[in-house]
Amino acid sequence: MSENHVVARTEQPAELVRQVPVTAPAVDILENESEILLHADLPGVRKDDIAIHVDNGTMTLSGTRRVQTTGAASWRELGDVEFRRTFAVPQSIDVDKVHAELKDGVLRLHLPKSESAKPRQIEIAAG
């Protein structure tokens, strides 16, 4: 039965239409008291070709890369690709303050926690 699962998977219409293969980029996820930090490998993706959507507790990261090809190919191991991955993000993220930088093909995405979600020291009043 389990084998059937693999065999029975047919191509969805969306996959047939899509020209560029989609793969999941490798990511690191880190967290400290004030933010969640996500590092993603997006080699060859330009800044303008990256889209990040945060909506209702999920975040979709997508970046498309086009590899310039000139002349005759001797071998080819990398090509046009869309890096896409969806993450669940806690509601405590302050969506307005999400920011990102791109360097050497690595995207560094900062997801700051909202004030109410940060750890807090509670003062105990003397009775």
Binding site: H5, T23, E77, G79, D104, G105, V106, R108
Partner: protein
């Protein structure tokens, strides 16, 4: 007795569910970029394209997160070696939830189809892609033959 039987069915059902989950895990895992896709070769790093533009060979290698200083390229005749290391870029004071991009060292060597002029090779590193232009040595260049 009937309830006992039902319990066994329950366990089997749970095992089936587990098996399905495990199977889909592998399918998901296959989709991860690091394990390569149809157009990628076997597990090689870094992945490269080589193009022949007549006078030059052009090599593109995919090395995200590696700076100029951490990269070494060696050329001798038609032998090319790319090696380097990637240091972890995790800042201090963070808890790690997931690491798919560990610090590594890598080295890959190629036998180019032609001898190249090592002195005229240019290399640029942009957005995690290394692009090298390798001019063919004079002997290997295409030549127009005039017919007598």
């Amino acid at each position: 007795m009937m309830t006992r039987w039902h319990d066994i069915q329950n366990i089997l059902g749970a095992m089936d569910l587990f098996r399905t989950q495990m199977n889909s895990l592998f399918t998901d895992f296959d989709r991860a970029y690091s394990s390569g896709r149809g157009w990628g070769g076997p597990d090689v790093y870094p992945r490269t394209n080589l193009n022949d533009t007549g006078d030059n060979l052009e090599l593109i290698a995919e090395i995200p997160g590696v700076g100029r200083e951490e990269l070494n390229v060696k050329i001798q005749g038609n032998y090319l070696e790319i090696s380097g290391s990637r240091t972890t870029d995790a800042p201090e004071g963070y808890t790690v939830h997931r690491t798919e991009r560990p610090a590594t060292t890598f080295s890959r060597s190629f036998t180019l189809p032609y001898e190249v002029d090592a002195a005229k090779v240019t290399a640029t590193l942009k957005d995690g892609l290394l692009t090298m232009t390798l001019p063919k040595s004079e002997a290997a260049k295409p030549r127009q033959i005039s017919i007598q």
